[in-house]
Each structure stands twice: as C-alpha cells, then as structure tokens.
C-alpha cells in the first residue's frame, strides 16, 4: 500500500498493538485527537482508551509512567509532542530508563519507546524545530533511531517496540508527509544498529539520516563523481563499522545533520571515521550542519537549515581537497 510516513507509523503501531496486548500508547492528545500530527489517528477507536491513553500535560510524568509500565510487563510507546519539550524527560530517561538494566544486572528492564517529531524545515512555532539527538545519543543504555522514509519508519518502529531496551524514536517532521512509498501491510522489520546504503558510490561517502537523506540524494544527483550515501538509521549504538568500511573505500567523507555543529552527532561520526580509516582518508571529514545558534523563527529559518546547496558545497570541498 502507498503510504506516507505518518501512515506507516500508524500502521506499525496498530500492527504491534494487534499482535501484542502489552503494547500501549500514551501521551498528550494521542487518543481522541489522534495526535497533533494524526500519527495515532483512529487507534483509540480500535484499541480503547485503556491502551491509547490521553495523558495530562506533563512530559516527565509521561516518561516516568511509561518506565513504570515497562517495569510491570507492558511495552509502552510514549509520545512527546515535540522534541523541544523532551528535555523535561531527560531525568527519567537518563537516570532511570537508560540504566535500569545495568543497575539491576539485567533483572529489571525498560522496554519502552519514546516517540517524538523532531527537526526543522517546516517553519514551525518556536521550540517546534529542535534536533538535539546528541543529547540522547550520548547516554549509554539508550538507543536513538531516526527513520528516513515511510518504509523505514515502519520497519524501524516495529523493531523498536520489540527491542528489549529503551528506544528514543525520532520522527523527522519534515518527512511526515513529504513522500509516499509502497509499504507492506503485514510485518516489516528493519534491524536496529545497522546502517543502510542508500546509494553505492566510489568517490565520497555521505552519512546522514532522517530528513537529510532526500536532501543528500538531490544534492548529489548531478555530481561529477560517484557518491555513496549511508543512512545511519540508528544514531546510537552507531553502526560505525559500515561507515568506516565505506570511507576506507572512498577515501572521503561528508557528514550531514541538521543539528548545530558543535558537540553534534557529526563530531562523533567524524572522530570514528578518523580513528578507523585515517590511513585511507584523502581529505578531512566535512561536516555539513546547522550553525551553532538557536533555531531561528520561521522568517530566519533558511539561514539555519541545511539545504542542497550547502551539502553540494561540502561534498565538493571533500572531493577537491
């Protein structure tokens, strides 16, 4: 069936809820309203308000309740309405969800998914455009996953729900309705922790994820030279092996993300590339990112957001070096 990402996520959720009665959804407006992006549309009618739970407006509470549910046998999928409000859950996620397995030596675990729309590029309200995936990625015990297409979203979300560890699932708002593709009706699994080669190539490796993938694809369409595009999919634990192996072949690397540059995910990816492929590198790793500023309000957003031109320039710098 042709689906956009919103539909694909909805399908993943309903499929898993059908299959496993321990899967429950909770969050602000996920029930009657079907979520502010309609991602959970119709699910309350199918699964009832006990399993599709409209919560009070309290993010830390949502995360804490989800952790408790997971400790007592459920597989909660909690939604935070926008990533910019997710800082409120960091105490629960870092101090509890991420380390429960370790601190009880595997006795108690927190198989939960924390879903949220993230990223800019849609000229949204203040605080609705954040991409702070590095906040989560740096926490041992958490997994951070970002889908780049409807099909990927379905497969990665199902894997996240079934994963025995807490997963932060970031949905690029910009990609929600950007594109439709064929998504199988039944089960479709994409393993966590494995990058995907979107396009093979020999001259430069471009690493990205989420809403960056289509931008990268367009940016290299008429490139002189052949680019290998890697969709990282899982930011942490990162499949650096795939990246490093590719760079060993191409000798050049460009990392693209929409988060600000400094202390962003690109730094870690670059560091791992250097550590793993230094002797094969023919150019420094290019980081194409947002600048180190607060996401501007809509009228200034273009001065912040990564675009095809910036990617192209980065790739050309890498090729030219």
């Amino acid at each position: 069936m042709m689906m956009n990402m919103v539909q694909a996520i909805n399908a993943a959720l309903s499929g898993e809820m059908e299959r496993d009665p321990s899967v429950v959804l909770l969050g602000e407006d996920v029930g009657v309203d079907g979520g502010v992006f309609r991602v959970t549309d119709g699910l309350i009618d199918r699964f009832g308000e006990d399993r599709v739970i409209d919560t009070p407006l309290a993010e830390a509470g949502i995360a804490g309740v989800a952790i408790g549910m997971a400790l007592n046998g459920l597989r909660p999928v909690a939604e935070i309405q926008f990533m910019g409000f997710s800082y409120l859950v960091l105490n629960q996620m870092i101090n509890h969800a991420a380390r429960m397995r370790n601190r009880t030596r595997g006795k108690l675990t927190v198989p939960m998914v924390l879903r949220m729309p993230y990223g800019a590029g849609i000229k949204a309200l203040e605080h609705h455009s954040e991409s702070t995936e590095a906040l989560y990625a740096q926490i041992p015990g958490l997994k951070v996953v970002v889908p780049s297409t409807p099909l990927e979203a379905k497969g990665l979300l199902i894997s996240s729900i079934r994963d025995p560890d807490p997963v932060v699932f970031l949905e690029p708002t910009r990609s929600y309705r950007m594109l439709k593709e064929e998504v199988p009706e039944g089960e479709h699994l994409v393993p966590l922790g494995k990058a995907r080669t979107v396009q093979e190539g020999d001259d430069v490796t471009i690493v990205g994820w989420g809403a960056m993938i289509p931008l990268i694809q367009r940016a290299v369409a008429d490139l002189k030279g052949s680019a290998e595009i890697i969709d990282l999919r899982t930011i942490s634990p990162m499949d650096s092996h795939a990246v490093v192996e590719s760079v060993k072949r191409t000798g050049r690397a460009v990392v693209v993300h929409e988060a600000p540059r400094s202390f962003g995910p690109g730094a870690e990816i670059a560091a791992r590339i250097y550590e793993g492929a230094i002797l094969k590198l023919e150019a420094p790793v290019e980081r194409v990112t947002a600048p180190d500023i607060t996401v501007p309000l809509p009228k200034g957003e273009d001065r912040y957001y990564v675009n095809e031109k910036k990617i192209k320039e980065g790739v050309e710098r890498a090729l030219r070096f």
């Binding site: 602000e28 409209d54 409000f85 949204a124 180190d292 500023i293 309000l297 809509p298 009228k299 910036k310």
Partner: protein, 351 residues
C-alpha cells in the same frame, strides 16, 4: 476578602455580572467609566485582531497562531489590576493582556509571523516574551518577584498559564516556591476547559483548579472568567495582598476557548457544536457590552468597530512590512560577544 467569601472546595465561584449583563452591585469594584470603556475597547480590539490573525494565517501570511476568542475578559481583567511597575508574564494566548500592558499589536503580529523582533517590546514595558514550553514561566515569575523584593520594589508579578499547565512540574515547583518565599505573585490560570484536545476533567481529578492553592499554603479563588468585573476584582484584591507582603494568590479563571487550539487544530475532532454554541451564548464581549449598554456607557459600537478595524489593518500592514532578519541578526545574539568559530560559521557557508 473575596478569597474568604468564595471557597473553591465548595464550588463557589465569584461572578459579578451575569450572562445577561445583570450586575451584583455589592461585589462591584470601583471602576470609572473611562476605565470600563478602555477595557471594552481592549477586549474588542483583541477580538478583531484575533480574527485578523486567523485570516492572515489562512492566507499564508502568518504562522501557526493560538486564538484568544472567548478569553478576552479572562485576559484583560487581570492585566487591568496591574500598575506600570508590575510585571506581566504570559504563555502564548494572552493577546488582550499584552495589548492592555502596552505591547503593540504590530509587535505581536510580528512574533506570530516568525520574526524575533516580535519579542522586543517598547522600552520599560514589563512584559516577558511568550513562553511556549507549557508551564516554564511559572517559576520564572517567582524569580522575577523575588528579585523585586530584594531590590525593594513594590511591584507585583502576574503570571498567566492554562489549565493544561497545572499538570506540569514547573507549575507545582513555582507555586511551592512562591508559598515558601511569600513572593508578590498573582497566578492566573486561564481554565479554558481544554489543553489542545484534552478536557479539563482529564487533566486533573481535582474538582477545581483554584483549590490546588491549598497545597501551597496560600489562597485560591474560582472566578467566572467571562466576567471582566469579576476577573478585575479578584486580581485587584490579590495584587493588593501581594503588594502588602502577604504573599501570592491563585486565581482560576473559568472560561472557554471558543476557537481552535491553534490554526493547526480542528476542534471538531474533540467537541460538539452544541457545546461550543452553549459557550458562545456566554461570550464575554456580549456580556460586557450588555452591561455597558444598560449603563448607557456604550452607544456607538459600530463606529468603534470600524475604528479598531482600521488599527488592526494598519498593524498587519506594518508587521508585514518589517524585513526578515538578516544574517547577522540570527547569529549575533547567541552570546554578548560572538565566539571566533561562530563568526567563521557566519562568514562561510551560511550566507
């Protein structure tokens, strides 16, 4: 003390002018004709400016916008009790309060059009910028009030937030600090019955929001939020108490959001036409104008509407004429001084 007379735990609600415009003169605060007319004018301007904002959004000339419709009394009433040196701390749905306190309409439009200059208010206007992360402003308002105490000011800090905000930890922590420090805060919860699609009854099992004050050791009062007199009277009393060093008050304004949550929302998903129609009957503007007409204060509403309509148009034009931020604008306010690497980023690649 109104807070003694109206016990939220018994469900008692302060109302001075009823839905037909009939007033209980025993409770009526002293208000000059001028003050009344200015209040009505501000409420009406808010209604018109709100309509315009929604229209601009539909035309793609303004971003997502949270309408005020139905909450004009709830917004303007409390602000009327403020003096110039008092602070107004808002969330994101308080256009009327801002208009009263001196934030120009064109500035507000500018913000919703997505320009940071919309957060820059005229010199000396003691109004903080919008706070979108729900509830965050509550402890901030307490800090502002505490600073006022330390600096020996006599200013009061009025903070608005919604019914949804009362579920956030920040609401709790802020009110608890205010109770402990006895800061000069007035907390106005605009209970408009919804947080997006979530009904008030689903937000908390507390019978009223006003009674939450009991958890913090200061008074709470439930007020008809569609009655500007009641909102003004309750806030005035609370502000005086605060100014005298007797600590904070929580005011629950019982009102209704007559329009969508924001222009991205569709209220038909979660409430009935009948319910909305019922509240349209209770429209705060209708009630207030009925009262003013009955007093003989309001005569030529049509020409007032025309005058305000022109103001609105002018503000929209002015906001739209403001240029988008330049490259330096989005970079140079990150720190007081720009770090070298940021200057480099500004120079190269982000032109």
């Amino acid at each position: 003390m109104l807070t003694d007379e109206f016990d939220p735990q018994k469900g008692e609600m302060l109302r001075i002018v009823d839905e037909e415009g009939e007033a209980d003169m025993g409770l009526m605060p002293r208000m000059s004709k001028d003050l009344l007319l200015k209040a009505y004018r501000t409420m009406l301007l808010t209604r018109l400016a709100d309509d315009k904002a929604v229209k601009l959004q539909r035309q793609g000339r303004l971003g997502a916008y949270p309408p005020s419709k139905g909450q004009e009394a709830s917004q303007v009433g409390p602000a009327m009790a403020l003096k110039e040196e008092d602070w107004l701390v808002w969330a994101f749905r308080e256009m009327g309060a801002l208009l009263w306190k001196g934030v120009p309409l064109e500035t507000q439009y500018l913000y919703w059009m997505g320009n940071e200059l919309g957060n820059v208010y005229p010199e000396g206007t003691r109004v903080t910028p919008s706070v979108v992360p729900v509830g965050s402003q509550v402890p901030q308002a307490v800090g502002i009030a505490y600073a006022g105490l330390i600096r020996k000011e006599k200013s009061v800090v009025l903070a608005y937030f919604g019914d949804g905000a009362t579920s956030e930890g920040d609401f709790h922590e802020g009110l608890n600090f205010a109770g402990v420090f006895r800061t000069p805060n007035v907390f106005v919860c605009q209970n408009n019955q919804f947080a997006i699609s979530t009904r008030r009854s689903r937000q908390t099992a507390s019978a009223t929001i006003a009674q939450k004050a009991i958890a913090y050791g200061f008074p709470g009062i439930l007020v008809d939020g569609n009655d500007i007199m009641a909102m003004y009277a309750a806030t005035k009393e609370a502000a005086e108490r605060a100014r005298k060093g007797k600590g904070p008050t929580l005011i629950e304004s019982f009102t209704y959001r007559m329009s969508d949550h924001t222009t991205s929302d569709d209220w038909r998903k979660y409430r009935s036409k009948e319910e909305v129609a019922e509240w349209e009957r209770k429209d705060p503007l209708k009630r207030f104008s009925a009262y003013l007409v009955s007093k003989g204060f309001l005569k030529d509403e049509a020409s007032l509407i025309e005058e305000l309509g022109e103001l609105v148009e002018k503000a929209a034009v002015q906001a739209e004429a403001t240029p988008a931020p330049g490259l330096a604008d989005v970079f140079e306010h990150t720190y007081a001084e720009m770090p070298p690497y940021l200057r480099e980023q500004m120079g190269g690649g982000w032109k």
